[in-house]
């Protein structure tokens, strides 16, 4: 599954993995803004950005081919709109749309692939995201896998009961909504259990992270150098 792979990538060790989440989030934002304001037809700038991303992937010791292929999820959407732009007589715009949307996806994947999500969320919280929002996100991510697996088991069980036949129409609809209702009720009960367990363990209202996150001099230097480079390439 996709997110399992991402989880494995983010557990590796590299200079990029060690940077503070805040530095990476801010650098990502600078990159995205600079990329978004790059005019269509500025091929040299876009090539430089692509090279920078490739270098960062190598430094992070992530598989280049894996990132390149996973970022293609954006292509169906952008190719459709690019085709329309092309037909409308704006080939430069079409090309820029594909290139820029692809590069931004690679950049987001690079940050997600070098930062475990709990740390990324911790970084967002320190950057000012509301605590409740971040807490809910931590819980959601934690139980995403559990509930997805439960849903898959239910689907498998339903397929077994049907003996390979597909139930269509009204009955199929009723079966699916029943399954969802059961999943809903089980999720509710699970949440109650989770809360009791948390209370028993003395939950203080926030998750504590195993790695202490400190925005050190290296993180500041990283952010400064990356931003300066990006801005220089864009306006220099």
């Amino acid at each position: 599954m996709h997110h399992v792979l991402l989880e494995r990538w983010s557990q590796r060790a590299s200079p990029l993995h060690r940077r503070d989440a805040r530095a990476k989030i801010l650098a990502l934002l600078v990159f995205l803004v600079v990329l978004a304001t790059t005019p269509a037809g500025a091929g040299a700038i876009l090539t430089t950005y692509a090279a920078l991303l490739a270098a960062a992937i190598l430094i992070a010791r992530l598989p280049l081919s894996g990132i390149v292929s996973r970022s293609m999820v954006v292509l169906p959407f952008s190719l459709t709109f690019a085709l329309i732009s092309w037909l409308a007589g704006e080939p430069w715009r079409a090309l820029a749309l594909v290139e820029k949307s692809y590069l931004s996806t690679v950049a987001v994947l690079l940050v997600a692939g070098t930062t475990p999500l709990p740390l990324l969320l911790g970084g967002l919280e320190r950057l000012g995201a509301p605590r409740l929002l971040v807490l809910v996100a931590q819980f959601l991510y934690r139980y995403l896998f559990v509930l997805s697996e439960q849903a898959q088991h239910m689907r498998l069980a339903a397929a077994c009961r049907q003996g390979g036949a597909t139930v269509r129409g009204r009955n199929g609809f009723r079966a699916a909504s029943g399954a969802l209702a059961v999943l809903f009720a089980r999720s509710h009960e699970r949440a109650e259990g989770v809360h009791r367990a948390m209370r028993a363990r003395g939950f203080s209202g926030r998750f504590s992270l195993l790695h202490s996150q400190r925005f050190g001099a290296r993180d500041g230097a990283f952010l400064l150098v990356v931003s300066a480079f990006l801005v220089l390439v864009r306006f220099g």
């Binding site: 329309i84 749309l97 959601l140 209702a181 999943l183 999720s187 509710h188």
Partner: protein
């Protein structure tokens, strides 16, 4: 419909980011106000439920299948403000973990699907939920998907993404079809949930939340505007854009007309950027002030 990065033009995504941040902040505060400890894990687990629910397929028509989107279901079971919060988290995780939707476009996607989508989806339930239960749920789920879809379409068009009229019509028809499917799925699932335990579904008349009613009304009005923008003739918007661009140009350039130095373009660009930033700050300040006023009035 998750909009990736670089489809929206900078003024469009920046404006929507500036609107979404205070709007979500307001909803988080509303949700936190009457939330006890026990509900925090519940919100997270329910977000995970919406993800997992996408694996259960509903047979729709010939050989195709649909799945639950979930905005209205969350609003009817958790309440509108917590539902906005959970949907925001879902959209953010989709952007970061699944590369579904952009990061700069997060404000736009959150605005379309989490803020407007959920509030528009809750409004019919709030008004008619007690008397016309099924119709209200269907209308809510239909509105939710339809409004967020047409808003996304309108935003893309405002950004100057080429979209011939037939394509816009076909997309709107597709949105209407998936909105109707979402409506039927949501009714079936909510009824099945009520059969298991009626306590899971909110009582629509339990609290008189006027703020939310106002917000939801505004959400629907905005959705209608988005729909109109999306279905209007493209030259209408282009003409508007050109006219606004011309006025901006004459206003900005007239005092500078005599300067022919090399840095002229630079300074014009800087001027436009500064004007844009000032506009964004203004929008953010207005939204934040409105949010604070609403919170204070509610607690007064």
């Amino acid at each position: 419909m998750h909009i990736p990065d670089n489809f929206l033009s900078p003024p469009v995504w920046a404006t929507l980011d500036a609107i979404s941040v205070p709007a979500v902040g307001l909803m988080v505060r509303q949700a936190g106000r009457d939330l006890d400890d026990a509900r925090i894990p519940l919100l997270g687990v329910m977000g995970a439920f919406v993800f997992a629910a996408q694996m259960i397929n509903f047979p729709v028509g010939v050989g195709t299948s649909g799945h639950l989107v979930g905005g209205t279901l969350l609003a009817c079971t958790l309440g509108p403000a917590p539902a906005v919060l959970v949907m925001t988290v879902i959209i953010a995780i989709q952007a970061f973990v699944f590369q579904d939707g952009g990061v700069l476009a997060l404000g736009a996607n959150v605005f379309n699907m989490a803020v407007i989508g959920v509030l528009a989806g809750y409004w019919p339930f709030h008004v008619w939920g007690a008397t016309r239960h099924r119709a209200a749920i269907f209308a809510g789920a239909f509105l939710s998907v339809m409004v967020s879809g047409s808003l996304a379409l309108g935003e893309l068009r405002m950004s100057g993404v080429a979209m011939p009229r037939p394509l816009a019509v076909v997309s709107l028809a597709l949105f209407a079809a998936s909105a109707a499917i979402e409506g039927v799925i949501t009714i079936c699932v909510i009824q099945a949930i009520e059969k298991l335990n009626a306590g899971y579904v909110q009582k629509p008349r339990a609290s008189n939340q006027r703020t939310l009613a106002v917000f939801s009304g505004a959400a629907i009005a905005l959705g209608v505007v988005g729909f109109l923008v999306a279905s209007a003739a493209p030259d209408g918007i282009q003409r508007l854009g050109i006219q606004m661009g011309l006025t901006a140009k004459t206003v900005l350039h007239a005092p500078l007309a005599d300067y022919t130095t090399g840095s002229f373009l630079e300074s014009a660009w800087m001027r436009r950027a500064t004007a844009g930033l000032a506009g964004l700050l203004l929008i953010y300040a207005v939204c934040a002030a409105t949010a604070r006023w609403l919170v204070r009035r509610r607690s007064a």
